[in-house]
């Protein structure tokens, strides 16, 4: 199958609040191929989070067509979209979202609860993912004892442990200092060289400059290339 990983054609998302309609995303066309390292930039309120939520199947677009691995997800049921999230999409958030009372390993295993990874394999796969983000030495730590950068690396391990088709990162360095940001960006570079598809939403020029491609969002419009 020669379908691109992700193809948006004229995708829009309109929020309705009583009489008022807000077009958070208008007529977006975007293609992401396997192995791409794409960043989405734009000021806050430009609609980049909306675009990310639509791509991540966390939100439903209101117009246009969205194909994920060739499947039109517009018509998919909630359950099927949830299944796609569980198996094909990895998430990294600005605020890490690690469970405070679980160890690093347990946090990584959490992502394998809802898909087809067999219980016996989980531990090994978690350790492998932690190895890839160079966090295996902290496997038994609780998140509170980790630095911000370390926490984000655990979150990335959690996302890649399920072997997703794409890693979607929402402001992954938004809560990090510059040194930690550097290490995360270096990690992204390594993951990308391993063949992982990366989509990073950011407002940080440093972060977007590491990507192969950058698209900009402005007032709900998507344009190829970094905005001036």
């Amino acid at each position: 199958m020669d379908d691109p990983l992700i193809r948006l054609e004229g995708v829009g998302r309109t929020f309705r609040s009583g009489e008022i309609e807000v077009h958070a995303l208008r007529q977006a066309d975007l293609q992401i191929d396997e192995g791409d390292y794409l960043s989405i930039v734009g000021p806050s309120g430009s609609g980049k989070s909306t675009l990310l939520n639509v791509i991540a199947l966390l939100d439903r677009h209101t117009s246009g067509t969205y194909r994920f691995e060739g499947t039109d997800v517009t018509e998919l049921s909630d359950g099927a979209r949830t299944g796609l999230r569980a198996h094909r999409i990895g998430f990294v958030f600005q605020s890490f979202h690690l469970l405070a009372h679980r160890t690093v390993t347990e946090n990584v295993i959490l992502s394998m609860l809802y898909n087809s990874v067999r219980p016996k394999e989980r531990k090994a796969r978690a350790m492998e993912a932690l190895e890839r983000v160079k966090m295996s030495h902290r496997a038994d730590f609780l998140p509170v004892r980790l630095s911000g950068g370390e926490r984000q690396r655990v979150a990335i391990a959690r996302a890649i442990a399920t072997d997703p088709a794409i890693l979607i990162c929402d402001e992954p360095t938004g809560n990090l200092d510059s040194a930690s940001t550097e290490s995360i960006l270096a990690l992204f570079g390594r993951l990308r060289r391993d063949g992982l598809t990366l989509l990073v939403v950011t407002h940080d020029q440093t972060v977007s400059s590491h990507a192969d491609r950058t698209v900009s969002m402005h007032d709900g419009f998507l344009t190829e290339g970094a905005a001036a």
Binding site: L58, D59, G83, R85
Partner: protein, 407 residues
């Protein structure tokens, strides 16, 4: 889209996640369970105490007690009331009443400390004389007291009328006097009087003091000693006639002043049991129900707070592929777990209360074994119902909002 791609959650994982949720805040989980503990404990205790008390009444209501009426002379509260006497012909008067199967009079004979011996010789080496109480009894006492003889026979009216020197020995008295058979007509001596032993009383179901006594006919006691009147009448009635007979007996034996005699009759079992069950059941069942309701509201409240606190976790799980149903199940299972735990502790507490109350009142604790087994399930059901609303709230949260909502 293959079926393999469906979001799933193994039951074991669901259970583990719910338990982890509970053990993350053990203190809070314990306090939450307290409501269910109190509710279930009071329900179990109520049912247990009602059942125990009911059983207590059933035990008291056995055929033996229910058919026994005892008439005695009223001694007054301090034992100084004017001495009433029971007529000699009480036995005939009472057996004429409908519902009486047997009646017999008896009374202690004042023998003034005379010793009883079985051989007319004094043995300086052995103890041959004993202080054995003498009881005068009418022939009807034997069936009325439900006695049975080890050997020999009970005397009859003729012995009494002729004031024959005969006696029946209680089994205890017979042992002390070393008399085991009566076929050779053994004789016992009380002071200077001799009595031919007719029989040995083996057992009585009523008036157990007979077993250690020398029992003589009333006519004999009247003739030899200063025996003025019987002091006790034992009546054996038909089943169900006891309460009627206890009303009629005083009039039959003391028609001039029935208040001079006292009647001991079994209490009406139905009244007592109904009274106990009404008192115990109604009040405490309501109390238990209210506690359980309060407990349920407590569980609902805490689960809701927990849902609102864990918005971020809910969003994360949804992003990782948990369906709405998975989220709902997780919170439902948590609240059900709290209810189950509370129910189990409550059932144990309730059982302890039943045992404690029974011990204080020297009752036999009785509890339907299904109650302590069903109680934790009732607790779990309470938790399940209490968790419904919070779980639905959690499952309806949008992952996008939830992920922004909290760190």
């Amino acid at each position: 889209m293959t079926d393999r791609m469906r979001a799933r959650l193994r039951p074991r994982d669901l259970l583990a996640e719910s338990l982890a949720g509970l053990f993350t805040r053990p203190g809070r989980s314990l306090l939450t369970a307290l409501g269910a503990v109190l509710g279930i404990a009071s329900l179990v205790a109520t049912l247990g105490i009602a059942e125990t008390a009911g059983n207590q009444i059933i035990t008291a209501f056995d055929e033996l007690a229910a058919t026994s009426v005892v008439v005695t002379t009223d001694q007054g509260f301090f034992g100084n009331a004017p001495q009433a006497t029971l007529p000699w012909d009480s036995e005939e008067r009472l057996t004429r009443l409908n519902g009486v199967t047997a009646a017999g009079t008896m009374g202690s004979v004042p023998i003034g400390g005379l010793l009883t011996r079985s051989v007319p010789i004094k043995d300086p080496l052995g103890l041959t004389e004993f202080q054995i109480p003498m009881i005068a009894a009418s022939p009807g006492l034997y069936p009325a007291a439900r006695g049975s003889l080890a050997t020999g026979r009970w005397y009859d009216r003729g012995h009494s009328d002729r004031a024959d020197r005969v006696a029946v020995l209680g089994t205890g008295a017979a042992q002390r006097l070393n008399i085991t058979r009566v076929d050779q007509q053994p004789v016992v001596f009380v002071g200077d009087h001799s009595f031919v032993v007719l029989g040995i009383l083996d057992e009585v179901e009523r008036q157990p003091e007979l077993l250690n006594a020398l029992i003589v006919p009333e006519g004999t006691a009247r003739d030899l000693y200063d025996y003025r009147s019987p002091d006790t009448i034992q009546i054996d009635t038909e089943v169900g006639a006891a309460s009627l007979i206890s009303d009629q007996a005083p009039i039959a034996v003391a028609p001039d002043d029935p208040s001079t005699v006292r009647v001991q009759a079994p209490s009406e079992p139905d009244d007592v049991r109904a009274g106990v069950e009404q008192d115990v059941n109604a009040m405490f069942l309501i109390l238990g129900g209210v506690s359980l309701l309060v407990g349920a509201i407590g569980i609902a409240n805490v689960t809701l707070v927990s849902v609102l606190e864990r918005v971020g976790e809910i969003g994360l799980r949804r992003a990782l592929g948990a369906s709405r149903r998975h989220i709902a199940y997780q919170f439902l299972l948590e609240s059900t777990g709290v209810g189950l735990f509370g129910g189990a502790i409550g059932a144990s507490t309730g059982v302890l209360v039943v045992v404690g109350v029974s011990a204080l009142r020297t009752w036999t604790p009785v509890l339907d074994p299904r109650i302590p087994l069903a109680a934790p399930l009732l607790g779990a059901l309470t938790g399940l119902l209490a968790g419904l609303y919070p779980a639905i709230r959690a499952s309806l949260m949008e992952p996008v909002d939830s992920l922004r909502g909290a760190a």
